[in-house]
């Protein structure tokens, strides 16, 4: 809990920016989230404390990306690399946000923060130095795919922040990869603002090595007629927590989420989602899958909030879970809070193991047990992986997952 001690004495960072000061001040009175609160009650306290045990690393260190960049048109950015980007083409432009714009936006966001719910963001913004904040403004059409990497180096706590404004009418494929080395912690906070008629296909792939930790927070604001598609995959973390907060600020927007988390050994990975419909005619289709093996623990908590103004909302949430070992455990809590009466809202949850009849069928056709298991898992994974915007010839995520499991 090295960081917390430092936050208490407000000596964590030298040369604090104004944003860091505001966040540190907010954290000082109660530096840790309330373990009894609904958002944190299932979180493993000792693992969270382990996350905070490393000292902060603000410097960029080189690392190997999981696959080479071979397409000329792909835009690849690494947070913290001190990259300057200003791409102004005929059809589109990708530019960095000015310091003033960043400052204004973050300050506005912080004003809505609730200590428990946004603790991960408060921690991130109090530790994230200027170099580790990447802000982009994207507009135009025929925008090339974008890849953004965040990396945590060994024996350190790294904080990276990403802010993207997607301007009116533009459509982008964005893959975000979070990589953690051995014994490292990564605090990643992402803020997206999708303006009217824009569309974002977003993929998040996060994985670590041994004893890697991740606090990944994603905040999305969707304006009218925008579409946000998220495919996410989290695996190989001692402790990982993925928080998704989506607000359809004026309704009339579409959100599709397909997420998966895979836990083994004594890992704990959790996904928390909160979808706010602040206007009518909103749409949500969400599937979250968990697979827990060995002594691991997978958690999903999803909440859908439909106030009076959000008439004609159509929201569905499904939590599907596979429990593969006697010592593993799964907690799931899909919840609905509805006031508007003319809505279609539903949720579902299942927990079971791999289907034995299917296994038996395949084995009677001469397929070995290992192969049959692999086939079953691949069909389970495929639904999510197909939703992540990554070209298969460069990075075969399904093969990677099947080899790891």
């Amino acid at each position: 809990m090295e960081i917390i001690e430092k936050i208490k004495t407000n000596k964590s960072i030298d040369n604090q920016t104004e944003i860091q000061k505001i966040c540190l001040d907010k954290l000082q009175s109660s530096p840790l989230p309330n373990p009894r609160s609904e958002q944190w009650r299932l979180s493993n306290k000792s693992k969270l404390s382990n996350f905070l045990d490393y000292s902060v690393n603000e410097n960029y260190s080189k690392f190997d990306t999981p696959y080479p960049k071979n397409s000329q048109s792909t835009v690849r950015l690494i947070i913290g690399e001190n990259c300057q980007i200003k791409l102004i083409e005929k059809n589109y432009s990708i530019q960095q946000l000015s310091e003033d714009e960043l400052h204004k936006y973050i300050k506005e966001q912080i004003s809505f923060f609730n200590q428990n719910e946004h603790w991960s963001d408060l921690l991130n913004l109090s530790l994230s130095c200027k170099n580790n904040i990447l802000g982009l403004k994207i507009n135009g059409s025929k925008i090339p795919p974008i890849e953004i990497f965040s990396h945590a180096s060994s024996n350190s706590l790294n904080a990276k922040t990403l802010i993207i404004f997607l301007e009116n009418n533009c459509s982008v494929d964005l893959l975000q990869v979070n990589l953690c080395e051995d014994n490292s912690s990564l605090s990643q906070s992402t803020f997206f603002c999708l303006e009217e008629n824009s569309s974002l296909n977003h993929g998040v792939v996060s994985y670590g090595v041994n004893k890697s930790n991740l606090l990944n927070s994603l905040n999305v604001i969707q304006q009218k007629n925008s579409e946000y598609n998220l495919g996410s995959l989290h695996f190989k973390f001692n402790y990982a927590r993925f928080e998704i907060r989506i607000k359809q600020s004026e309704g009339n927007a579409k959100t599709n989420i397909k997420g998966m988390q895979i836990t083994k050994k004594d890992e704990q990975i959790s996904t928390y989602t909160k979808i706010d419909f602040d206007g009518p005619n909103g749409f949500l289709d969400q599937i979250n899958k968990s697979l827990a093996d060995d002594k691991s623990h997978a958690i999903f908590e999803g909440s859908i909030i439909v106030p009076k103004i959000a008439q004609k909302t159509d929201a569905s949430q499904l939590s599907r879970n596979l429990l593969l070992s006697n010592l593993a455990q799964i907690d799931t809590k899909p919840q609905l809070e509805i006031i508007a009466d003319d809505v279609k809202c539903k949720h579902g949850a299942t927990i079971s193991q791999l289907n034995e009849e299917e296994l038996f069928y395949m084995r009677t056709r001469g397929i070995t047990l290992t192969e049959a298991n692999k086939l079953q898992l691949s069909s389970y994974f495929q639904e999510i992986i197909a939703f992540i915007p990554v070209s298969k010839d460069r990075w075969d995520l399904l093969d990677k997952l099947l080899n790891e499991n």
């Binding site: 010592l327 899909p334 919840q335 509805i338 006031i339 949850a349």
Partner: protein
């Protein structure tokens, strides 16, 4: 759009059980301390083990704090401003119903509860509880012939102290939660049922709870024990007069089912819900839990919750015995400013256990109706199954319907399925029914009744009719 207002209008229905019986009562002074508990125990001539149980619970209660996780908004309760014992004055011991104050009999008559023996045809034995004490229990001799014990818990303490000592607090321990601890310290009366081995109870058993006094709380305790291969169906009903103050009702119900035994527990809860402004009404904080101790035992909860200003109630099943079964069927209707946070807990501990949850919530007016349930598969619950279905119906755009299912599994060889949906009374369906000549009011009533059908089918016949009527009454009103 006009229909929306009509729907809102038809859910307004005056509370018809709101009268007060003018009867001389014996009350003790307000407040809660060790002396009060000793006084209650002394009035009931209880053995020492029970007084110790109460005092221990009181000590635990003092160290606990009122739960706030359900997010129910209500004025802080002053526990020292409540009378913990109130009983109608009558002769010490009632040997026959003729000795019961006629006013009391009249009260229960007005409520439609058959206390007089000539109403035998209904074939339901009733234990009537008025404020803090049990007034009368019918059909006792007939039941005794089969070895069934059905009496008030105070009598059971005197006549069967061994059973009470063995089972009281084993399902809901005093330290279980704040309201259970309070009940354990001050419970005044309630019902006791013991079904011996191999006996199928020849008639339905029923308790009827009536709060009459405005400043006293009601803290009843029910204990039902079903021995091996026995079965019983138990019904519970409740009403209260209209007061502009809130009255506290904190009950505890414990059920124990041994090998092959089956208990069916049905409730129609119609406490006074407060007026349209939310003034008055009962705070209903109840802990109900059943333990399926034996192999192939079965506990089934069915409830129709229409009353109370605030309902905080989670009838649960601990499924310990191999192949034991737990069921929960619930309809909760809230209107005006009522708040209901209700659901169930199905804790699968033994192997091959099964549970089913069907919950229907109807929210109207400015009310808040939440389903909160837990399904847990323990490490030894191999081959266990759960199925949950929670549906909500919203009437008007001011009411809220929430679903909070907590699902936890530690056993790979088990299956959990949960689904929830939300709907409203659609214009199309109303139009269809009305075009077939069905009155608007009846059409709404039919749709609500159809929505609740899965649950009503599970209620014993007497109650199913009552529940249907109750919902229809709530939906009856000024159709313009």
């Amino acid at each position: 759009m006009g229909n929306e207002n009509l729907v809102k209008d038809v859910v307004k229905e005056p509370y018809k059980y709101g009268f007060v019986t003018d009867i001389e009562t014996e009350k003790i002074e307000k407040g809660l301390n060790e002396d009060i508990i000793k006084l209650i125990s002394q009035k009931k001539e209880e053995p020492k083990f029970l007084l110790d149980f109460r005092l221990k619970a009181f000590k635990k209660w003092q160290r606990m704090s009122e739960p706030d996780w359900a997010g129910l908004g209500y004025k802080k309760i002053d526990y020292q401003d409540i009378i913990y014992y109130s009983a109608p004055k009558q002769k010490d011991k009632i040997s026959s119903l003729d000795e019961v104050d006629p006013k009391l009999l009249e009260t229960f008559d007005k409520l439609g509860i058959p206390l007089t023996e000539q109403k035998k045809l209904t074939n339901v034995a009733v234990d009537a509880v008025f404020d803090s004490v049990s007034i009368a229990t019918t059909f006792r001799e007939e039941l005794a012939e089969h070895g069934v014990i059905f009496c008030s818990i105070s009598e059971a303490v005197k006549n069967h102290p061994d059973l009470i000592e063995k089972y009281l607090g084993t399902v809901v321990p005093a330290s279980d939660n704040y309201f259970a601890a309070l009940n354990s310290a001050v419970f005044s009366d309630g019902s006791f049922v013991y079904i011996p081995k191999g006996v199928t109870c020849p008639m339905d058993l029923s308790s009827y709870f009536r709060i009459n006094s405005g400043d006293s709380g009601q803290f009843e305790r029910t204990l039902i024990i079903a021995e091996e291969s026995s079965s019983v169906s138990y019904l519970e009903g409740c009403t209260a007069p209209m007061f502009d103050t809130n009255t506290l009702h904190a009950a505890v119900v414990e059920l124990i089912a041994l090998d092959d035994a089956s208990i069916k527990y049905s409730t129609v809860q119609n406490w006074y819900a407060g007026d349209e402004e939310g003034i008055g009404g009962i705070f209903n904080f109840v802990t109900k839990r059943g333990k399926c101790l034996g192999k192939r035992s079965k506990i089934s909860w069915s409830q129709v919750e229409t009353g109370s200003a605030i309902t905080w109630k989670y009838p649960s099943c601990l499924l310990l015995g191999e192949e034991s079964v737990g069921e929960f069927y619930s309809v909760a209707l809230t209107n005006n400013l009522q708040q209901a946070d209700t659901g169930t807990k199905m804790i699968h501990i033994g192997p091959k256990t099964k549970s089913t949850i069907i919950s229907k919530g109807i929210s109207a007016g400015n009310s808040k109706n939440s389903y909160r349930g837990l399904v847990k598969m323990g490490t030894k619950a191999t081959g266990s199954r759960n199925y949950s279905q929670c549906d909500s119906m919203l009437i008007g755009d001011q009411a809220s319907a929430n679903t909070f299912p907590y699902i936890k599994s530690q056993q790979p060889n088990s299956e959990i399925e949960h689904e929830a949906s939300t709907c409203r009374i659609s214009e199309d369906q109303l139009f269809y029914l009305q075009s077939r000549g069905i009155e608007f009011e009846e059409a709404v009533s039919m749709m609500v009744s159809g929505f609740c059908r899965d649950v009503f089918n599970q209620l014993p016949m007497e109650f199913a009719a009552e529940a249907d009527k109750l919902l229809a009454l709530k939906l009856e009103g000024s159709v313009g």
